[in-house]
Each structure stands twice: as C-alpha cells, then as structure tokens.
C-alpha cells in the first residue's frame, strides 16, 4: 500500500523574467516546494501531466509514485495584484458502524482569488 494517492499533475510557475520553477526538475526529478515560488514575479502558473520519463525520474529521485497521463494541461495568467489559488483537494470518507475509510479522487484546483476557479479531476476533466 502506498498510503497516498499518486499525483497526476505537477505545477510549473513561470516568472515575468522568462524563468520558471517546476515542481519537479525535468532533469533530475527532484522536487521544488510550492513555498519556494516567488509570487511577486509570478506571470503564469499551471497544472501539467507527467510524462512517463519524468515519472521514472521522480520515482528514482524522490522514491514517490506519480501517474503519467495524456491529460490536458491547464494554466492561468496572472496580472499585477492577482493572487494565485492552486492546491489539491483531497477527500476521505469515513464509514460509521461498518465499512471502512475510503480515499476519494483528488481534485486539482486552479485560478485567481476572487474569480471563478477550475476544478480538475484525475482524468483532466473540469468538474464542479
């Protein structure tokens, strides 16, 4: 048992100076933390699917399983003063009396605070 739901998307933060910070280094598979993002110069942010090669690199570098897919990518462009909203929403169902604990599908959330957000399921489809 993994004990966690494998990621199907990773993020890339693109900056106004043309540089970018990906969640996972495409060369090494090592992870960069979300807290390392410089939100002051953030120009675009998106969720991107894993390629099989990157998934292998992450498994090797981080010993973590992620799921490569052909899902569409989603990105949002930020204007000055915009505040990014990006996270994964996880659900756990607790069955009272009998049954068990079920881990539901992860929803990837993306948008700008104060504006309509996108909610993406693990198949890359927009959900409400």
């Amino acid at each position: 048992m993994l004990g966690y739901c494998p990621l199907v998307y990773f993020w890339i933060a693109e900056y106004t100076d043309g540089s970018a910070l990906p969640q996972f280094d495409p060369e090494t598979g090592k992870e960069n933390r979300f807290s390392e993002i410089d939100h002051q110069k953030l120009h675009r942010f998106g969720w991107y699917p894993f390629s099989p090669k990157l998934a292998q690199q992450i498994l090797k570098a981080e010993k973590t399983v992620v799921t490569p897919t052909t899902n569409p990518s989603y990105a949002v462009t930020l204007e000055k003063g915009d505040r990014l909203v990006a996270h994964r929403t996880n659900s756990i169902k607790l069955c009272v009396r009998s049954g068990g604990v079920e881990y539901a599908e992860t929803v990837y959330v993306l948008g700008i605070k104060g504006k309509p957000l996108k909610y993406l399921n693990e198949n890359g489809e927009e959900v409400t």
Partner: protein, 202 residues
C-alpha cells in the same frame, strides 16, 4: 518507503480516546469503521454498548473526537471540512440527531490535544451531553449554540473544522461527534452512514 521521502502527505483518520482532559490516551487509526457507543473506547466491532432507548428525555452516546493525522512531507495542508450526505439515516426519534460540537465563530474543530475533553457518562447507559453545563464538553458547552446537526453539514455547505495552515506533521483539530436518542427511536443496529472530510494540500 520512508515517510520523509514522500512529497505527498499521508493522511489518516484517527479517533482519540482515554487519557485525561488535554491529553488523549491514544490516537487510533480508523481503518475499518468507527462506532458511537456508551463507552469511551475505540472498539468498532464491540456491540456491547448500544445507546438505550430512554423512557423519557434523551440518551446520548459518549462523544468521540475524530481528527486527521498528517504525516509524510508536504508544503501545506489547510481548510479541513466535514460533511454528511445531508440525511443521516438513523432512527434517533423526535429531537434526536447525530450532532457535532459547534462554535459560535471560527473553526468548529476541537484543538488537539489542548482542548481534548475526556468523554464521560454512565457506561452502557448514556454519555454526558456535549451541551451539559457541568459535565459537557468544555470547548463547546459555553457556546450559544454548542452543537449542530451533522445532517445540516453538506458537501455544498460543510463545517469548517480546521482552517490552520499545517506545514508539518501532526494532528488537525477534531470534529466531536455524539448521538442523541429520543424515546420514540426505533431499537436496533443502525445502517452504515458515510461522513466525509475534505482538505486542501499543496
């Protein structure tokens, strides 16, 4: 695989029991089920402590503290919400309900372990009501509305249990649950009921 190698949180649902106020005896991973009983114990398969149907008034289960245990490696977890499907299908009788501890403002979750309040009552008979001024849950019984009906917590309008930004492993605040049963409730083991936690992670 070592916990420190993951960049994804490992989250377990835990029920705290025993110990003393401010210091739970144990946190138990809920892997199969949980049960509301007239005893402070984590024993999902034990049917020996049902909630009796009262002759008059109400009987209560012992309240239970249910929190999330955050392990693994993650940048931030927050916005822990709790909800039902909007219709708890158990026979509670008139005025009965599955209720949770409720705060007049802010998060409805009970900070763990600081505000943990050992469940009390008379075993195999009734728990003390969360709302009881003397023997109730100390984090809730002074509130204007100390409890809320879990059936009113829905996916579209969930109860916020913990809005804290958790940046390291530990426990979230706990939802405190209790059954309230009236004299016209129907005796017998009740149907399965699903309750949900939702949280944001990055």
């Amino acid at each position: 695989m070592e916990e420190t190698e993951k960049m994804v949180a490992t989250v377990n649902v835990q029920q705290a029991v025993g110990g003393s106020d401010g210091s739970p005896g144990t946190y138990n991973n809920v892997t199969a089920s949980t049960r509301l009983q007239t005893k402070d114990q984590f024993a999902p398969a034990d049917t020996g402590y049902p909630i009796p149907i009262p002759v008059s008034g109400f009987k209560y289960s012992y309240w239970i503290h249910v929190c999330l245990d955050l392990a693994g490696t993650f940048t931030q977890i927050n916005n822990v919400r709790f909800y039902s499907d909007g219709a708890v299908g158990w026979s509670f009788g008139t005025g009965g309900e599955l209720r949770r501890g409720n705060r007049d403002s802010g998060d409805h979750g009970c900070p763990m372990p600081t505000e943990y309040d050992l469940a009390t009552g008379t075993e195999a008979d009734t728990g003390d009501s969360i709302e009881d001024g003397a023997d109730g849950h100390g984090y809730y019984n002074g509130q204007t509305t100390p409890t809320a009906n879990v059936a009113d917590d829905t996916e579209g309008s969930p109860a916020t249990i913990d809005s804290t930004d958790h940046t390291s492993t530990g426990k979230t605040k706990a939802v405190v649950l209790q059954c309230k049963v009236a004299n016209d409730a129907v005796q017998g083991e009740q149907a399965d009921e699903t309750l949900s936690f939702k949280y944001d992670e990055i």
